[in-house]
Amino acid sequence: MGSYIFNRFCYMLISIVLMSVVAFIIIQLPPGDYLSSYIMQLQASGERVDPAQVESLRRQYGLDLPMYQRYFVWVKNMLRGDFGRSFDWNMPVRTLIASRIPMTVAVSLVTMLFTYLVAIPFGIYSAVKQYSIVDYIVTVLGFVGLAMPNFLLALFLMIFFQRVFGFSPGGLFSPEYLNAPWSFARFVDMLKHLPVPIIVIGASGMASLMRVMRSSLLDEIKMKYVTNARAKGLKERVLLFRYPVRVALNPILSSIGWMFPQILSGATITAIVLNLPTVGALMYRALLSQDMYLAGTCVLFLTVFTLVGTFISDILLVCADPRIRFD
């Protein structure tokens, strides 16, 4: 057990290092370095460019060094907490990202919880009552959830909410609470805005989980031991939840690993359409304005978040089912 966790941890660290290389490449991809764009921006706004300041920035980010050395300078700065500067916002990248981390984590985790809480019961129900009306509805909704791209679902729900309830679910807060300090009213306002993003982000994951749950439980129900237990007079409900459901839950539990990247992925695009204050939306703006330090750091953060999440879920999984680590 200990050695498994250690191996898994080392593997996560290697992945993070690899990802930092990818993020660095992304930062370096656009033509021209970040300083020249910064200078151009200063000149465009009519400010005088101080050569000494340019020189010091150049040294700070190691822009006169060859590529591989620049990578190490970048990593070293990052470990010290300096993620570079966003010249679009004219702020350190660190402050920008830090202000959006709580919301990103909260939205992803709540979505994840919601996905499992909905998918498992409906999956069980549609397996037990196979070919019932609910089963058909669940199947159809599942297919729609799979086929509907996140951003389209977001658009449709936005229109629906506006037409039916007369309020626009864009953002996480109504305008009057946007910059207000935390209060109960603000919290209630946020709760009102949460359902749409959660449904949108969770839809496709929920659809596939429901199908997995349904098919694995269907396989399990046909087993001889179920018939045997039923013949011995065990109550249907007790029988169902004590044996087949527990076995059928295994593939669901091991799905946590790939649910994380999927939810983060979906959250990114949904956040852009619904204008949520998360890292994903920040990254989109950064990409559009070629604000590469910010964009690269966002990619890095989103991936590291996924890697850590997957690591934790793997550990929990091993605790829950000791057989899994030998897979």
Binding site: M19, L29, L146, N150, F151, I159, L288, T310
Partner: protein, 370 residues
């Protein structure tokens, strides 16, 4: 012939049928999958011959008809007379005196019968040779089956061209992932050992990255001055960078399964080399599973391309794809005013659903002995 003989003959047919025949029989029984296949065949026909099915040049700006709503195809006119040939009414523009908004009303005095295989202005078919026949058209006046966009371009024609682009992005991307998946999955599964270990770790790493942020970052980094065709291929390459992983896993898993089978050992003993064993004996034995994975990978590619283009970092105008068209429908206000701009979304959903149904049917058919 007696009934019994009939049954026996049927059974015999089952036992002498080849694997592919069994698969086809099982597939044909899957109704949703067949429906998916038919719809996809239709969509691909529209895409391949989009120049012919479009009613006009997809970039032509009809400045007199900006944001015109779709015209309805009718058989019965305002007086209640039935016309065998479908027709559309003419459109007249009206200006709301207060809001200055343009509205369009059907002009019931003008009846424009729809003619098929009409001669129109010359266009380049597939960009190669001149043609001047289109599938549908009217003699004169406006003909906008899906309405027009903010520049007065005919949405129907644009959707036709977009179908071509969006559907082929999926195919080209899947072809790339197929090649990569087969090569890496094949190496990994066939040789095993250290190479297998490394390739598996790389795949796990790639699968743990959230795809959309990575795609976005890579797509946004494409140089702005690239030709549209370069962008097109770059986007498909970006999309297939993650797509090959799951294919490689299928290939590896199946290879490990069949590697130990007697017929492979027999081939080895008979002196066949690695290449012969892989291509002659291993690949055919799990080809069906590969086809299933490919079919299920295409819709993901289509969604990926649509999402990127919708956000403005995928394909760029003048190339039209479903995602590019949906860019016009980005906010609720526009959609409330011009709901027909969402028509491309219907195509996306229908195409993706059809691919999913088709993949489902193929998966059932891939294992015909079950």
């Amino acid at each position: 012939m007696t009934k019994q003989a009939d049954v026996i003959q049927k059974e015999e047919k089952y036992y002498v049928a080849t694997q592919w025949q069994l698969m086809r029989q099982k597939f044909v029984k899957h109704k949703l999958a067949m429906a998916g296949l038919v719809v996809l065949a239709l969509l691909y026909t529209l895409g391949i011959f989009s120049d012919f099915f479009a009613t006009q040049d997809y970039q032509k700006r009809n400045t007199r008809y900006i944001n015109a709503p779709p015209q309805r195809i009718r058989f019965i006119d305002a007086d209640g007379h039935f016309h065998l040939r479908p027709f559309v009414y003419g459109l007249t523009q009206e200006m709301d005196p207060e809001t200055w908004r343009r509205t369009y009303v059907e002009d019931t005095s003008v009846i424009q019968p729809i003619r098929f295989f009409v001669r129109t202005d010359t266009y380049k078919f597939w960009g190669l040779f001149d043609a001047n026949i289109r599938f549908m058209g009217v003699d004169e006046g406006p003909f906008f089956l899906f309405g027009t966009d903010g520049s007065g371009r005919d949405l129907f024609s644009r959707v036709m061209y977009a179908t071509r682009i969006s559907l082929t992005v999926g195919l080209v991307g899947v072809f790339l992932s197929f090649v990569l998946g087969c090569v890496f999955g094949g190496i990994s599964g066939y040789y095993g050992g250290k190479i297998d270990m490394v390739i598996q770790r790389v795949i796990e790493f790639l699968l743990s990255i959230p795809t959309i942020p990575l795609w976005m970052a890579l797509a946004a980094a494409l140089p702005k001055d690239w030709e549209t065709i370069q962008i097109y291929f770059a986007i498909t390459i970006i999309l297939s960078m993650v797509g090959w992983c799951s294919l490689a896993r299928v290939v590896r898993g199946k290879l490990l399964e069949v590697k130990q089978k007697d017929f492979v050992i027999a081939a080895k003993l008979a002196g066949a080399n690695d290449w012969q064993i892989i291509t002659r004996h291993l690949l055919p034995s799990f080809m069906s599973y590969l086809i299933v994975s490919i079919t299920l990978a295409i819709p993901n590619m289509i969604i990926g391309e649509t999402a990127l283009s919708f956000l403005g970092i995928g394909l760029r105008p003048p190339v039209v794809s479903w995602g590019v068209l949906l860019q016009d429908a980005q906010n609720v206000r526009t959609i409330n005013l011009h709901p027909w701009l969402l028509i491309p979304a219907v195509f996306v959903v229908v195409a993706v659903l059809s691919f999913n149904f088709l993949g489902d049917g193929l998966r059932d058919a891939a294992d015909p002995y079950k």
